[in-house]
């Protein structure tokens, strides 16, 4: 019964969106982290989504439903901001600290998008559950 497949597929999406929300939370939390060493700064992390597509099988097969997985988490290559803060204990010998390269606006929009996707998948699961329950009670 392919209706049960919805739980698997949407479940993988919920998982992926959760990871996305987690990285966003991590990025926002570290938006103001500084370091005197440019190689040690916090860099914004973003998950890379990939669909778990095996073959282009005809839809009679279960392969028609493909979930999503997080292929990996990549770090942003954006340039960090350099601030002159000689009083900062982390400052380098010239008195500069490097901020993380997190773009807060980007993270906020990312969070909204992840939130929406999460809600949509929850809705899909609820719909599938309702339909299954109605199908089970067929003829009553």
């Amino acid at each position: 019964m392919s209706l049960f497949n919805v739980f698997n597929v949407s479940g993988t999406a919920l998982n992926a969106e959760t990871i996305r929300l987690n990285t966003t939370a991590s990025n926002l939390a570290n938006a103001e982290s500084v370091n005197g060493d440019v190689t040690k700064i916090y860099r914004a992390r973003h998950p890379v989504f990939q669909s778990m597509m095996d073959t282009g099988a005809p839809f009679g097969d279960q392969d028609a439903s493909v979930g999503v997985r997080v292929l990996g988490v990549v770090e942003s290559k954006a340039a960090p901001l350099m601030r002159y803060q000689p009083e900062n204990p982390l400052a380098n010998k010239d008195g500069y600290v490097f901020t993380s390269n997190v773009n807060s606006i980007e993270e906020m929009t990312n969070m909204i998008s992840a939130n929406r996707s999460f809600a949509t998948n929850i809705e899909a699961i609820n719909t599938a559950r309702d339909l299954l329950l109605k199908t089970i009670s067929m003829g009553h």
């Binding site: 019964m1 392919s2 209706l3 497949n5 919805v6 597929v9 949407s10 993988t12 999406a13 992926a16 969106e17 996305r20 890379v48 989504f49 990939q50 669909s51 282009g56 005809p58 839809f59 009679g60 028609a64 439903s65 493909v66 979930g67 999503v68 998008s113 992840a114 929406r116 996707s117 949509t120 998948n121 899909a124 719909t127 599938a128 339909l131 109605k134 199908t135 067929m138 003829g139």
Partner: protein
């Protein structure tokens, strides 16, 4: 007599169930780069299953006829996006959500028809 009590709704229910899975897949991959949204051409597939089932033509011994109740295989069609996205993803949320709720209603409609048919038969059997 009872071979085809539920008519087209039996097949329609199966097909709507499959379509629900396909649409849920689209929704799940809404943020996946390069994912192409897919859908079942409902009318086309149902045309092959509706009413009297048309047997597949067997021209060679190696040909396999589908088992009874099995839907004819067909390729999923790729959706043409209204607006191309930069990451190669063709899932458009409003389109998918609309298709999803439409499919939901159609599934429930088929289910209702089947339920009414069952009630009708029970009435006929009980005779009161």
């Amino acid at each position: 007599m009872f071979d085809n009590i539920f008519g087209i709704h039996e097949k329609a229910l199966l097909l709507h169930g499959q379509r629900l899975g396909v649409l849920a897949t689209n929704l799940a991959n809404a943020d996946t780069p390069n994912y192409k949204a897919r859908d079942i051409d409902f009318g086309e597939v149902l045309a092959h299953t509706g009413g009297e089932s048309i047997p597949l033509k067997v021209t060679q011994a190696a040909h396999i006829t589908p088992a009874d109740g099995e839907l004819p295989g067909g390729d999923l069609k790729y959706r043409n996006p209204y607006q191309a996205s930069l990451d190669g993803n063709t899932v458009e949320m409003p389109v998918e959500q609309a298709a999803f709720s439409e499919n939901n209603v159609r599934y429930q409609a088929s289910l209702t028809f089947i339920n009414l048919k069952i009630a009708e038969l029970q009435l006929a059997i009980a005779g009161q």
